[in-house]
Symmetry: C2
Subunit: 220 residues, 2 copies
């Protein structure tokens, strides 16, 4: 695994609001988030945006660019961030010599496909409350997997971005958060969220979360 260091060209800094890459940019490298927080976004011709995912430390971005040598989505930093650039050509070469790397790589791509399927299930079958509960639990789990508090965290994204990801309008996100708070399940202080009764959230998604609440995000 130390050979992996060889492909890391450099650590690149991206300030809040800046784009690491944009849809249509030539694809040369994958990016692993070292610190910070990103959103990925596809947009239609008429300007409608769909957030396809949020990415934090350890997550890999850019896999969708391999197919066409062109990035298929935007990657925008939601806070000052730090990423590793992994030139894909070098990665491909190394994969041939290091079976375990090739294998790891296939798994990463497959995991992304599985994650996308969970999101489809969410968007296709779940109601607003279920979506938001699944979202909060997913975030909680990913944060705790990285050593942060599971039940006390700060949202890096706006209500509108959450809504875009979940297929809801920002007002609905706001209302639903308020409702959860009124129920005593969470506390909402602007972007500061506390899960007071996560078991109630789990109950909401129990049955309908096809694994999305689990951490299927891509680790580098």
């Amino acid at each position: 695994m130390s050979q992996l260091d060889a492909v890391i060209r450099q650590s690149r800094r991206v300030k809040r609001g800046e784009y690491l890459f944009r849809a249509g940019d030539p694809f040369r490298a994958l990016f692993a988030v070292r610190t910070g927080f990103f959103k990925n976004c596809v947009s239609s011709h008429d300007g409608r945006e769909q957030v396809t995912g949020f990415h934090m430390s350890g997550d890999l971005m850019g896999l969708d660019g391999i197919s066409s040598n062109t990035h298929g989505c935007d990657a925008q930093a939601l806070e000052d961030s730090d990423v590793c650039e992994l030139p894909f050509a070098r990665l491909e070469l190394l994969g041939r010599d290091i079976p375990s790397l090739q294998r790891h790589f296939f798994r990463l791509m497959s995991r992304e496909i599985v994650r996308d399927q969970s999101v489809m299930l969410l968007l296709g079958n779940m109601k607003a409350e279920e979506r938001l509960a699944a979202f909060l639990l997913n975030l909680s789990q990913r944060l705790s997997a990285r050593g942060f508090a599971a039940n006390d965290f700060v949202l890096r994204m706006s209500r509108e971005e959450i809504g875009s990801f979940l297929g809801l309008k920002l007002e609905t996100v706001s209302r639903t958060l308020s409702k959860f708070q009124a129920n005593g399940w969470i506390s909402v202080d602007h972007k500061h969220i506390r899960l007071l009764q996560p078991e109630h959230l789990k109950q909401l998604v129990s049955g309908c979360a096809g694994g999305f609440a689990d951490d299927h995000s891509a680790h580098a």
Copy 2:
């Protein structure tokens, strides 16, 4: 590419209604559709089903199984079909020796991720009419890419399966098809669809189809 024949263990027949694999089955191989038609399906604990895709000749299925050595979705034949089984272990080995194969493989997985992103855009942003128009156009394009008529085809799936894929109920699918027919844009005779004025359908999705109408399906 003739070396590829080496990994094709056998051609396997799957009758209409039968499952090629089911979620939870141990993952050993990918499957390329030779003839026939399949749906892929993830389901939640409480029985809700989400069709994640439809696959026809040349498409590859099972990529989501790599990550966990377990298939993540069902693959059910919607008509009598014929698939090639591609043992994954052998494919991995060959990939090391044949760079073009490895490269091709990465592209295939990436293409699946891009396709999934288009579906997210569809499920998250589009209205019933737009979804159905995008679906018909996508089907049309994939069929014509395989040498079939683009504007005259037979649906292999039920209204319910279309609805599941598009995040709609079967009644809505039926109503929307009827509306398209009333407009003179298509003709509907049970499962036999004719696109009479595809330009009107394109107009409906123009602006909001983030590439889904194009053929981003996985070719073997």
